[in-house]
């Protein structure tokens, strides 16, 4: 992730893990705007269970980095009141599966107050959620709840996939006057990359990014599966298949124009995410692209997703999570090459 070369200096480009880049994004937001406050469980002295907020309480004090009671509705609901007062709260939900007690405050209050008040009240609240599986944890710690929020009018939903985006997108999310669900791929927290701390974000928070150009298949994903998708493109290339990987970055709104532009070239679409398949982001993307690109499609859109089961115990997560081979199989099917799942498509 090289920054913009013109603005780069040796001091501003660092090799950081994704979690550290989020930490730097929070630090910058706290020092740039005194109305930014962080709220969450264990985010103070402990620095968060993933250490994402490490050192921030010591630097900014307990009324800027607030260790809250163990109450998710309370965290989000008090953030609403702080937003009424002119603050820009950044809430941390400790794990994806813990967000549900705060669900009402998010979907009925945070999401709707701008519309309910005809735009008089703004809810510039960022809700950070470490999400997804692959860390061998116990239940309620590996979920992908993004579709619930993408389905709710008034929320922006984003997911970062690399340290530079994590830094830039977080700062954009905090600066946004709309509420943003910020999904952090927890199994990539330790992934390193170059981060330019001074770089002006090169694209809007709602735009997708084409990571590799390709002419045969458009592979759409976001968050934790982006590195996997890159591996798929490399493996497919060895097989003579040219895959264009799109990192959606924004899940609400989806940058459909970017996907449409790609599918008009490739004629084939594969969408992959960790979340369950039914009524997931993949379904929405497949449906919209079918509507907008029907005459360009050479094959039916393929989805490679988690299964419609609860996230399984850690011993099974390799089965549940889309991996290189499952996605490559879908690419093959899109290319008209037969494999074990080909017959299921026509079987009802």
């Amino acid at each position: 992730m090289a920054g913009q070369k013109t603005a780069d200096t040796a001091e501003t480009v660092h090799t950081l893990t994704l979690s550290k880049s989020i930490n730097e994004g929070l630090r910058r937001a706290l020092s740039d705007n005194e109305k930014v406050v962080l709220m969450g469980e264990d985010i103070g002295d402990l620095g968060g269970v993933f250490r994402v907020t490490d050192g921030l309480k010591a630097e900014f004090g307990p009324s800027r980095v607030i260790d809250t009671p163990l109450a998710e509705a309370g965290i989000i609901g008090t953030a609403v009141g702080l937003a009424y007062r002119g603050y820009r709260p950044v809430c941390e939900i400790q794990f994806d599966g813990f967000i549900y007690p705060g669900f009402d405050q998010i979907v009925a209050q945070v999401a709707k107050l701008h519309a309910r008040t005809s735009g008089d009240v703004r809810m510039p609240i960022t809700i950070r959620v470490p999400f997804g599986g692959g860390i061998g944890s116990v239940e309620h710690h590996s979920e992908s709840p993004e579709a619930y929020f993408a389905h709710t009018a008034g929320l922006r939903v984003v997911s970062c996939s690399n340290p530079q985006d994590a830094y830039s997108m977080l700062r954009q999310a905090i600066a946004s006057d709309d509420p943003v669900l910020f999904f952090e791929p927890k199994r990539r927290y330790w992934m390193k990359g170059e981060v330019n701390l001074e770089q002006t974000p090169e694209r809007s928070l709602s735009s997708a990014r084409v990571l590799t150009s390709g002419t045969d298949v458009t592979l759409v994903t976001y968050g934790p599966l982006v590195p996997t998708a890159m591996d798929v493109a490399a493996a497919a290339a060895e097989d003579g298949i040219s895959v264009e990987v799109i990192d959606l970055r924004s899940l609400q709104p989806v940058d459909f124009d970017a996907v449409v532009a790609s599918v008009r070239v490739t004629g084939r679409l594969v969408v992959t995410h960790e979340a369950q398949r039914f009524a997931g982001l993949g379904a929405e993307i497949a449906a919209t692209i079918t509507e907008r690109c029907f005459e360009y499609l050479e094959a039916a859109p393929e989805r490679v997703t988690g299964f419609d089961t609860p996230y399984p115990p850690a011993a099974f997560e390799d089965q549940f999570l889309p991996d290189l081979d499952r996605i490559l199989d879908a690419v093959d099917r899109a290319m008209g090459r037969r494999n074990s799942l080909s017959d299921w498509r026509f079987d009802g």
């Binding site: 406050v37 009324s63 809250t68 009671p69 109450a71 509705a73 309370g74 989000i76 609901g77 008090t78 953030a79 609403v80 009141g81 702080l82 937003a83 009424y84 007062r85 002119g86 603050y87 709260p89 007690p101 009402d104 405050q105 009925a108 209050q109 709707k112 107050l113 701008h114 519309a115 309910r116 008040t117 005809s118 735009g119 008089d120 009240v121 703004r122 510039p124 009018a153 008034g154 922006r156 946004s176 006057d177 709309d178 709602s206 609400q252 709104p253 989806v254 940058d255 459909f256 124009d257």
Partner: protein
Amino acid sequence: MLLTHSGEYVQLLTPRGERVDAPGFDPWVADIGSAELRSLYEDMLISRRLDTEATALQRQGEIGLWPPLLGQEAAQVGSAHALRQSDFVFGSYRENAVAYCRGVDLTTMISVWRGNANAGWNPYDISMAAPAIIIGAQSLHAVGYAMGCNFDRSDDISIAYFGDGATSQGDVNEAMVFAASFSAPVIFFCQNNHYAISEPVGVQTTKPIADRAPGFGIPSIRVDGNDVLAVFAATAIAADRARSGNGPTYIEAVTYRMGPHTTSDDPTRYRPEAELEEWRAKDPLDRVKRYLINAGALDDAQLQEIDDHADEVAKDLRAAIRALPEPDPLSFFDTVFAEPNAHLARQRSQHAAYLAAFDGGER
């Protein structure tokens, strides 16, 4: 002494209109002379008139729904008058008398019940949040706002209005945890009007509601909610505690909803007539009127003047409905997000094209 004992309540004005002493509370109403009490009476009467008018407007099909506050005038007017305009109010959908006291524009208030708007007034115009329909959700907002007042080192405070039903909600209980932990300058104002739609308060609790707060570390006051002086005193005490850095206070105003939950329900199915009679005798307006008349501080001419003012407000409410313009059919797309959203803009354009086809388009 602030904390009242279980089951007791503070009363300064009996249903017969007699002023009784309440040590600890009297000093807080020492400034309320006849003129001020007349003004409280006037606001209560106007609130009642607004209620009657709005109920009639619903029956005439001018508005879709109305949640009457009949019987709760003292609880709302008394508490609202103990606040500063710079304090911030977080209410449910029944705090229309509070909104009136804070100077709400009647046109925007009625637009909600006409179905033209979701929340009506601009919260920053009257320092009162959008009404909350999800029960108890606003209590957390009030606490967050109060935390912000603390962070700002301001002596502004906030108040959360909710009903007895809301005390069962997790949000209200979490709000008390946050308020106590952060010593937030917030007033929890529970109007125990005895019914959550049809469910009597006994379904929510078997103890006085005010007893719950001390367990959270929050002192509470149980007050006769039909006694505007007692409500004013309790709220003034709570506001002063909050402003001087002593954190939250919980007030249970014991009152009674004389009307239905909304114009849609039928209280005769769940509420005994004898109970209604019992509460009719405790009417919040009658006792103030009797007291003032007995004190020689309210004569027929003044009563007429107050009535005329109430008529005027009711007339304004009716006129406000007629003044409401038909909303732009596409405007509901426009304020979903503060920032442009390409996906929604596309959907709006598609619907605009569909609508345009009706105006001489080919359909």
